[in-house]
């Protein structure tokens, strides 16, 4: 009995300290909310770095968290289309419904890549609003951070001063890190890279990397023999320097191609928590860059 009371007390104590309850769909947005909200926000991430954010298993706690949330921060651009609408319906929380200030879609705050000219179901896991994995470009991430910070001030005006301070500090550190990363990343310009899933458009856009081909014939489809043959032919004509894959995907297709081509395979964290040293957004780009430069 005393044990239960303690848990209850702890739970209430924690929510009393935080003013804003944030529900993040992916770990990168949880990390950003923590940077910008400091001690005024309590953050929950629906997925971990080792889960595919397109798909998610329904757990009761997800509904409970969504029900209490004041702010929902997701990638948007249909990335979570497979589960977020159901979750929002089940949670019945008006504050975080689309169109409300408590509903924040990060991808909508920036210019998106790969917006299809013609939407065709045969094209694979494509999103009408463009590629949703916007967090992999640190310049876009800073834009998103600015918009998110303003949203925090709208939702919790009493904390405006603190949010402004957090934003100022984050922006300063980020700009500094950005110029350091960009200086170090110069040798990566024009390097040709084979990807497993087409989720890296924004990282490539930032670093000037070139996509030499993809192991998945269409986004979200398993690798087929035809695709592998096509890829080998393509690589013979236009060699690539390395193969990358996200930590959350099965590395076997990448290793298979590496065995045949002798190209090095680089596992990138993809998001916060995807590998050691990526506890925050700074770490995410630091590790990504270090691993790319090692090859």
């Amino acid at each position: 009995m005393r044990y239960w009371l303690m848990i209850l007390l702890l739970a209430t104590a924690r929510s009393a300290a935080a003013e804003l309850s944030v529900f993040a769909c992916e770990p990168e947005w949880a990390a950003l909310a923590r940077e910008l909200g400091g001690t005024r926000v309590e953050v929950f991430s629906a997925t971990t770095a080792l889960q595919d954010p397109h798909r998610i298993e329904a757990r009761p706690s997800l509904i409970a968290r969504a029900r209490r949330a004041d702010l929902l921060v997701c990638s948007g651009a249909e990335l979570e289309a497979g589960w977020l609408p159901m979750l929002l319906r089940q949670a019945g929380n008006d504050r975080i419904l689309p169109g409300r200030p408590g509903h924040f879609e990060a991808a909508m705050a920036v210019e998106r890549l790969e917006i299809p000219e013609k939407l065709d179901r045969s094209q694979g896991d494509v999103h009408a609003a463009g590629n949703p994995h916007v967090h992999l470009d640190p310049r876009r991430l800073l834009t998103i951070a600015g918009v998110l910070s303003e949203r925090l001030m709208t939702l919790d005006p009493a904390g405006s001063e603190m949010y402004r301070r957090q934003w100022g500090e984050f922006e300063g550190r980020w700009q500094q890190a950005l110029s350091d990363w960009e200086a170090r990343a110069q040798p990566l310009r024009g390097v040709r890279v084979v990807v497993q899933h087409r989720a890296w458009a924004y990282l490539f856009d930032w670093l000037g990397l070139e996509e030499a081909g993809a192991l998945e014939p269409k986004p979200g489809l398993p690798t087929s023999p035809t695709q592998l043959a096509r890829l080998q032919e393509e690589l013979a004509a236009h060699p690539a320097r390395l193969i990358i894959h996200a930590a959350y995907l099965n590395p076997r297709p990448a290793r298979w191609l590496a065995d045949r081509t002798g190209l090095p395979v680089v596992a990138l964290p993809f998001t916060v928590g995807g590998s050691e040293g990526t506890e925050d957004l700074f770490g995410l780009f630091e590790v990504t860059l270090t691993r790319l430069l090692q090859q």
Binding site: I7, L8, A11, R55, E57, A58, R59, P60, S61, L62, I63, A64, R67, R68, G82, W83, M86, L87, R89, Q90, R121, S122, G124, D125, K218, P219, G220, L221, S224
Partner: protein, 246 residues
Amino acid sequence: MTLNALDISILGPAFLAGLVVLSTHVPLGREVLARGIIFLDLAVAQFAALGLIVADTWGGEAGAWSEQLIAAGAALGGALVLQMSERRWPAQQEALIGSAFVVTSSLGILLLAHNPHGGEELKSLLAGQILWVTPQQIGYTGALSALLIALGVWRGFGGRLFYPIFALAVTASVQLVGVYLVFASLILPALATRNRPNGLAFALLVGTLGYAVGLAAAALYDLPAGPAAVCGLAACAVVTARLRRA
């Protein structure tokens, strides 16, 4: 442990969906055990899924109702074929059901090879997520279940109507709770209470307890609800079976 997920408004609909599934699957499961055709539901669910994929590949966009009709039609067709084979080759029935399962699954994958969105549909048909059920879904499936139970009580679950009733019940329940839970609801309560007097009532009780335990565990330990309910059913079935021996 998280206590705030132990909320009746979150778990209630899922539990209700479980009860609806149990209402048809426990009597059907006893029949399945008696006939020794354990994997029938997997095969029938695959027939339903294949029907949807075919409709999706060649028919373009389908509405919710026509989709249901196609899935039910395909499941019924498959069930009729299996009913025929049971009459003709009773000794090979289990092997034929197993083969029907892998062939329909593979056909589905082949048809979907160029359509990943169909893959999502297939997955939602096969692995429906019990927490996302809506009141409408429970209402429709509940009405269908009442109809099937009435039919079963009137003409007997074991007679000629067994395959058609089974096909319709599985097509509906698979979309509600997913294929693993359908299998568990069908087999585990019936298995734990076979040869017991009042077996049907006991089996329903075991199933109800199983869902309750599994969903509560999912809420307390932050686990996916479907697999947790499967394990809850298994735990209750094992306890019941042991009690009988003691």
